[in-house]
Symmetry: C2
Subunit: 105 residues, 2 copies
DNA sequence: CATCGTTACGGTGCGCGTAACAATC
DNA sequence: GATTGTTACGCGCACCGTAACGATG
């Protein structure tokens, strides 16, 4: 049985865990922090699992979410690397402004 | 530099490569075949790479796309497995009808 | 003529931004 | 008061369905 979570929400989760915070992740990815908050709430809702401990004004991964974050990171890096090798250099001119969001250094 | 393609389009690509055809993939995933066609066109457009050879009325992976399909398959299986272990059994009742689409056996 | 992929056309909810808020350092 | 995450509100297009089409075995 193969069932995927909402992928854009998963991407937001991935960015936040990498950056260590919502606002940092938002700036890196070029999106608003409100968007990331919504996506993470959606992910927690659909999974039925609390992914972050809200402590004061910072986020920390739940124990259950730590292993998950590691696997998600692995998966997105695979996708990123494969996409990069596929499109040597003929892609950047076709991407719309919307795809240019969500690109990190 | 980390840049992700449109993830729903990538998911469609994944389904089609697994099922060996658009209509088969659509039936498996519980979506319309027209939706899959659109997603794959979007993916090819944003990547700037032709992923399938259209021969008569069947699809065959391009040489360039073969390695890509393998990596994409790996990534989605990682996500699927990790999500499954994270949500032992407390998730299925929260999923909306929309998430129930795109679930395979 | 049954089945394939593509195209045409609309509707709707997801994904996003802007702007405000509450809370901690 | 500077900075954090959250909430409120609204907009546009990505995403999907239905229905028709052209083409091949």
């Amino acid at each position: 049985m193969t069932r995927l979570p909402p992928l854009h929400a998963l991407r937001a989760f991935w960015l936040v865990t990498r950056a260590g915070g919502i606002r940092a992740a938002a700036e890196e990815a070029g999106v608003s922090h409100a968007a990331l908050t919504q996506q993470i709430q959606r992910l927690e809702g659909t999974l039925g699992v609390r992914l972050f401990d809200r402590r004061s004004r910072s986020l920390r991964l739940t124990k259950a979410a730590e292993a998950y974050a590691a696997e998600v990171d692995r998966a997105f890096q695979v996708i990123s690397a494969a996409t990069h090798t596929l499109t040597r250099r003929n892609a950047s001119n076709i991407l719309t402004t919307h795809q240019f969001l969500w690109s990190l250094d």
